[in-house]
C-alpha cells in the first residue's frame, strides 16, 4: 500500500498558523512585556501648534511619589542627538523632545519616568509649560509664500524640497530640463482637462498604538528594545548609532505587532528617548501610546495637492500629462517623509502609454504632525490624480470611462515598459484585468441599473479606476537601508525545519505562507516547519515589512536559502544511502531513491547523520543550515481594476457604497486566502479615505480630529460585501513570480468611489468633488443644483 503524497500547499487557502494564539488572547504584544523593576514613561506634549517655550516648571512633577526622573528637551539633548532621517534631502534638526520652539500640537516638550503608568501620567500633567505663541502655518499654498511665518530658520518659504522636476525631457539626475515634448503635446491638444485636487491627510490608525520597552543592562553593556515596529533591524541600526553602541550590543524585538500600515516603519522620538533614558539610568522603561497621542505623535499619511493637466485627442488618446504636486509634509522630516511624494511622481505614468509627462514636486513644512508612509505611500495619490483625470476626460468626450482607459493602456506586448518617469514596469496585462472586472461587475447591465435608478429619481453612480503600483521594494538603490531581504533555513537535528526571515510581519501571515513554501520545497508537512521573525538576535539580518515586499523579496530569500540547504541535505542523504544525489526524491517527510519510497531515510535520519557525520563525506562541512540574501533587480508593478457603485441620499447628501468589484493582479499567489484578506483591508482603507476619514486641523493648528470620536474609522456597517477576483501575470524579477498585494486595495477603490459619486450627482453639473465625501458637501451640491 503506497502512502498518498502530501498535497502541494503553495497556491492553497491554508489556514493561518498565527491564529491559535491570537484567538485565545495568548499573543505577546509590546504592552504585554514586563521586566522586573521596569519604569514607565509619559510625555508632556505641546498644546500649541507653533510657539517658543518660555519656561518649563517640572518641580511639582519631580516631587511626586514614584517619579524617578523628569527630562526636558535641553536635558535630553545632552545625551541624545537630533533624530536622523533616511532621505538625501536637507532637513532641519529634529530633536526628540523640543528644545526651544514647538512646531506642532503634540510635539514632546518633556518626559517623565515613574514607577507606574498612572503616576507617570499624573506627573506629566503636573508639568507647567508657558509658550510665546507664534502664528500657525496651515495652508501649503500660503506657506510657500513664506506666510504667515517661516517655520525653520534655514528653509525660506517653508520649502522642505523646492520644486523638483521629473518626466519627459528631464535628465535622470535633474541636471537638464527640456520642455519641448510636453509643450508640443499641449499646443497640439484637441482637448485639455485641468483640475486641482487634494488627496487629503489621513491617520493610519493601527489598532495597536505604538509602544516600546527599552532595557539597558549596565553589567553587560547591552540594550534590548521591544517595539511595535515593522522593521526591527532598522530599529536596531538606529538605536545603536544614536546611543554610541555597536549593532552587536543592541537586540531589537518586534513582538506581536498590532498592525502597522507604514506608520510603524519610522523610528520615533519615543523609541529614541526610551533607549537613551534606559541607558542613562541603567534601567528598563516602557512607553505605551494612548490613542489620543497616536493622532498627534504617529505620522499621518497622504496630504498632497495636485494641479493636473491632461492633453488629449478627441478620440480619447492622451498625448500629454502635467502634474504639479505640492506635498504638506508637516513640521519635520521623519525617516522617509521626503521620499513618499516622489513615489507619486514616479507613478504618474499610471497604466497608460502617455508620450509626454511633466511632473513637478514641492514639499512644504506646516505646523502639523509630519507625514510619512501610509499604506500605498505615494502611489494611491498618483493613481487618484491620474484616474480622476481620465474620468474628467471621459466625461468631456462623452466616452465610457472603461473605454477611454482602454484606449490609452500600455499594450501587454510592450513589457518590460520604460515609463516617462524612469520606472521600468516588469510585466502587465491591463486590458485583461479591465475586461474581467467589467465582466464580473456585469458592466452594461450595471449601467442600465444605474440609469433605471436615476430615472426613478435616485442619485446612483458608477466609477471605475485602474491602478498600477510599485511593490516588492526593491533594489538597494531605491532604499537607504538596502533593498534586499535575508533568510536562514536550518534542518534541526531532529529533522524539523526552522527558518528565519527579515520580513517582520504584523498581520501579513508570513508564518503561514513561508511555511507553505518550505513544506513544498522539502516535501514535509506544514507542521514540521517553524518560521522565526522579529528578533534581531535570532534573525541575523533583515530589512523589514513595507512596500508590499515580504513575499516578493523575503519569500525569495527564503526560497534561495531553502534551495542551498536542500542541496546539502541531498549530499548527506546520498552518502548515507550510497545513492546518487540526482536520483533522490524529497517526499512525505522522507528522502528516497526515485521509485523506491520504502527504502528511504527520514529527515531525522539524514539530519542525525549531518550533525554526527561519521564518516564525514569528503568536501562537506557538518550541519544543515544556510542563509541567503536576495537582491531584486527591479521592483514589481502589480495592477488591477476597481469598480464602485455609489448612491447619494438626495435629502441628506449621505453617500453609500452599494457595490465594489475588484480585480487585482499580484502575480503568483502563495495563499489566496491571505491575499484576499490583504485586498479586503486595503479596500477598507481606500474606501475609508473616500467616504469618511479625514484629518482636520483648524486655523490655529489644533487637531480637530484628535480621537476616534472625531476621526471616523470605518465600521463593519460601512461596507458592502466586496466582490474579488484576480488575474495572474507573474513578475520576471523573482523566481516566485510574486508581486505583492498589501497595498493594492487602497489604490483603485478611492478614485472609483469619487468617480461614482460624481457620476451620481451628474445632474447637478458637478465634475469633480474633493474627498472626503462629507454628506454636507454633497448636500450643498444637491441644493445648489436645485436652485
Amino acid at each position: 500500500m503506497s502512502t498518498p503524497v502530501l498535497p502541494k500547499l503553495v497556491g492553497q487557502r491554508v489556514k493561518r498558523r498565527e491564529d491559535p494564539r491570537l484567538i485565545q488572547g495568548l499573543g505577546t504584544y509590546v504592552d504585554d512585556v514586563k521586566i522586573v523593576g521596569m519604569q514607565h514613561m509619559a510625555f508632556k506634549r505641546s498644546d500649541v501648534a507653533h510657539g517658543r517655550i518660555v519656561s518649563i516648571d517640572v518641580s511639582v512633577a519631580q516631587a511626586m511619589d514614584g517619579v524617578e526622573a523628569v527630562f526636558t528637551g535641553k536635558q535630553i539633548a545632552e545625551f541624545l542627538a537630533p533624530m536622523p532621517i533616511g532621505t538625501p534631502f536637507p532637513s532641519p534638526a529634529h530633536h526628540a523632545i523640543a528644545l526651544d520652539v514647538v512646531r506642532f500640537t503634540g510635539e514632546p516638550v518633556a518626559v517623565v519616568v515613574a514607577a507606574d503608568r498612572y503616576v507617570a501620567r499624573d506627573a506629566a500633567d503636573a508639568i507647567v509649560v508657558s509658550y510665546e505663541t507664534l502664528p500657525a502655518v496651515i495652508d501649503t499654498e500660503v506657506a510657500m509664500t513664506g506666510k504667515p511665518v517661516q517655520i525653520h530658520k534655514d528653509f525660506p518659504n517653508n520649502l522642505a524640497v523646492p520644486l523638483v522636476p521629473s518626466g519627459t525631457g528631464v535628465a535622470p539626475d535633474g541636471s537638464s530640463v527640456d520642455d519641448t515634448a510636453i509643450n508640443k503635446a499641449f499646443a497640439d491638444a484637441e482637448v485639455v482637462i485641468s483640475q486641482r485636487m487634494l488627496n487629503h491627510r489621513l491617520a493610519p490608525s493601527a489598532m495597536e498604538p505604538r509602544g516600546v520597552v527599552a532595557h539597558y543592562e549596565p553589567g553587560k553593556g547591552t540594550m534590548t528594545i521591544w517595539s511595535s515596529t515593522q522593521n526591527p533591524h532598522i530599529l536596531r541600526t538606529m538605536i545603536a548609532a544614536m546611543n554610541g553602541m555597536g549593532q552587536d550590543q543592541v537586540r531589537a524585538i518586534a513582538p506581536e505587532v498590532g498592525g502597522g500600515f507604514g506608520a510603524k516603519i519610522n523610528i520615533y522620538a519615543e523609541e529614541y528617548v526610551a533607549a537613551a533614558v534606559a541607558k542613562k539610568l541603567g534601567i528598563a522603561v516602557k512607553w505605551i501610546e494612548d490613542r489620543s497621542e497616536a493622532f498627534v505623535a504617529t505620522i499621518h499619511g497622504r496630504d498632497i495637492l495636485c494641479y493636473l493637466d491632461l492633453a488629449a485627442k478627441r478620440d480619447g488618446t492622451v498625448t500629454g500629462l502635467k502634474m504639479r504636486l505640492i506635498a504638506d509634509i508637516g513640521a519635520y522630516n521623519m525617516l522617509l517623509t521626503a521620499a513618499i511624494p516622489t513615489l507619486t511622481m514616479l507613478m504618474a505614468n499610471a497604466t497608460y502609454n502617455i508620450p509626454a509627462i511633466r511632473a513637478t514636486l514641492t514639499e512644504v513644512f506646516t505646523n502639523k504632525t509630519p507625514t510619512d508612509a501610509y499604506r500605498g505611500a505615494g502611489r494611491p495619490e498618483a493613481t487618484y490624480f491620474v484616474e480622476r483625470g481620465m474620468d474628467l476626460l471621459a466625461r468631456e468626450l462623452k466616452m465610457d470611462p472603461a473605454e477611454v482607459r482602454r484606449k490609452n493602456f500600455i499594450p501587454k506586448d510592450k513589457f518590460p515598459f520604460q515609463t516617462q518617469m524612469g520606472a521600468v514596469y516588469d510585466s502587465g496585462d491591463y486590458e485583461k484585468a479591465l475586461d474581467l472586472a467589467l465582466k464580473n461587475a456585469n458592466w452594461p447591465a450595471l449601467k442600465k441599473e444605474r440609469d433605471a435608478a436615476k430615472a426613478q429619481g435616485r442619485l446612483v453612480g458608477l466609477g471605475l479606476a485602474m491602478y498600477v503600483e510599485v511593490c516588492g521594494i526593491g533594489p538597494s538603490a531605491s532604499l537607504p537601508t538596502g533593498g534586499w531581504e535575508h533568510s536562514q533555513v536550518t534542518i534541526e537535528r531532529d529533522g524539523r525545519i526552522s527558518a528565519t526571515t527579515g520580513a517582520s510581519p504584523h498581520g501579513q501571515g508570513n508564518e503561514t505562507t513561508f511555511a507553505q513554501m518550505l513544506a513544498d520545497q522539502f516535501g514535509v508537512p506544514l507542521e514540521h516547519v517553524t518560521i522565526l521573525h522579529g528578533d534581531t538576535s535570532v534573525v541575523k539580518q533583515g530589512i523589514g515589512t513595507f512596500g508590499s515586499r515580504s513575499q516578493a523579496v523575503g519569500g525569495t530569500a527564503l526560497h534561495m536559502a531553502g534551495t542551498k540547504v536542500k542541496a546539502k541535505m541531498a549530499k548527506f542523504a546520498a552518502a548515507l544511502m550510497e545513492a546518487n544525489e540526482e536520483d533522490l526524491v524529497f517526499e512525505n517527510g522522507k528522502i528516497f531513491v526515485k521509485g523506491a519510497p520504502a527504502t528511504g531515510k527520514t529527515f531525522a535520519d539524514v539530519a542525525g547523520y549531518a550533525y554526527i557525520p561519521v564518516p564525514l563525506p569528503p568536501g562537506l562541512e557538518p550541519g544543515l543550515s544556510d542563509e541567503a540574501f536576495f537582491e531584486p533587480t527591479n521592483n514589481t508593478y502589480p495592477f488591477g481594476c476597481h469598480i464602485s457603485m455609489v448612491e447619494v441620499d438626495r435629502d441628506t447628501g449621505e453617500p453609500r457604497l452599494l457595490k465594489l468589484v475588484a480585480v487585482d493582479d499580484a502575480g503568483n499567489l502563495i495563499n489566496p486566502l491571505i491575499v484576499e484578506g490583504q485586498i479586503h483591508g486595503g479596500l477598507a482603507q481606500g474606501i475609508g479615505q473616500a467616504l469618511i476619514e479625514e484629518v482636520v486641523y483648524n486655523s490655529d493648528g489644533q487637531l480637530v480630529t484628535g480621537s476616534f470620536m472625531d476621526y471616523a474609522l470605518p465600521r463593519a456597517t460601512d461596507f458592502p460585501r466586496f466582490e474579488l477576483d484576480n488575474t495572474v501575470t507573474p513578475t520576471p524579477v523573482n523566481p516566485l513570480g510574486a508581486k505583492g498585494c498589501g497595498e493594492a486595495g487602497t489604490l483603485g477603490s478611492t478614485p472609483s468611489i469619487v468617480g461614482a459619486t460624481v457620476d451620481a450627482l451628474s445632474e447637478f453639473g458637478v465634475k469633480h468633488i474633493d474627498m472626503m465625501l462629507r454628506p454636507e458637501k454633497l448636500w450643498r451640491i444637491i441644493q445648489g443644483g436645485k436652485a
Binding site: 491570537l22 484567538i23 488572547g25 483591508g681 479596500l683 480621537s707 463593519a716 461596507f719 466586496f722
Partner: protein
C-alpha cells in the same frame, strides 16, 4: 449612532439598544473621586473566568488595567481612550462591555469572561474556530474584543442576518480585515450552534 429610536408601540425586543437610565452608584461616585479621600484603596472581589479574584485597587484603576496588569490577562487589549474601538471588550455577567470604560471597583461582585476564558477544556469556542477557519483576523489586536462582542450578539440572536452581524460588531474597530472575513467567521459560528 448609539441609540436607535423605536417606533411607537413597537414590540421589538432589541436589548442592544435598550437605554438604561444613568444611575451613578455610590461605588462609581467613590471611584470617580467624588466621595473618597486621597490614598483610599478599595477592595474588590471579581470572578474572572470562573476564579474569584480579590484585590485592593486604586479607585481609579480601569478594569482593563486590572485585568491586564494585576491578573496578567493580557488578551484584553486597549486600542483607544474614548470607548470607540472595542479592543478591550469583555463579558460582564454575560453582556459585552468595554473594560476601559469601567473602573475595576465598578465590577466588584460581577462575573467576567475574558478571551482567555472562552475556550473550554481545550476546545475552542465556535467563534474562535470561526475566526480561524474564515481568516477573521490579521494582526489579531482587535480579535479578542471582536470575538466577545460577537459572543454577546450570538447569545441574544443565535441566527443573525449579515446586516445584524455588521450592526452587532459595529462597536468594534478592525483596521486590517475590512470586516468581511469577520462576518464570515460569525456566520460560521452561528451555523455551528
Amino acid at each position: 449612532m448609539f441609540f436607535r429610536p423605536r417606533a411607537a408601540g413597537s414590540k421589538e425586543q432589541d436589548p442592544a439598544y435598550e437605554i438604561t437610565p444613568l444611575v451613578v452608584s455610590a461605588r462609581t461616585k467613590y471611584a470617580m473621586g467624588l466621595t473618597r479621600k486621597d490614598n483610599d484603596m478599595v477592595q474588590v472581589s471579581i470572578t474572572v473566568n470562573g476564579k474569584v479574584r480579590k484585590a485592593h485597587v486604586e479607585p481609579r484603576l480601569l478594569l482593563a488595567h486590572f485585568l491586564r496588569e494585576q491578573l496578567n490577562l493580557t488578551g484584553t487589549h486597549i486600542g483607544c481612550d474614548t470607548s470607540q474601538c472595542g479592543a478591550c471588550t469583555v463579558l460582564i455577567d454575560g453582556r459585552s462591555a468595554k473594560s476601559c470604560t469601567l473602573f475595576a471597583a465598578q465590577a466588584d461582585g460581577s462575573q467576567i469572561t475574558t478571551i482567555e476564558g472562552l475556550a473550554k477544556d481545550g476546545q475552542l469556542h465556535p467563534l474562535q474556530e470561526g475566526f480561524w477557519e474564515e481568516h477573521g483576523l490579521q494582526c489579531g489586536y482587535c480579535t479578542p474584543g471582536m470575538i466577545l462582542s460577537a459572543a454577546n450578539l450570538l447569545s441574544e440572536n443565535p441566527k443573525p442576518t449579515e446586516e445584524q452581524i455588521r450592526e452587532g460588531i459595529s462597536g468594534n474597530f478592525c483596521r486590517c480585515t475590512g470586516y468581511q472575513h469577520i462576518v464570515n467567521a460569525v456566520q460560521y459560528a452561528a451555523g455551528k450552534r
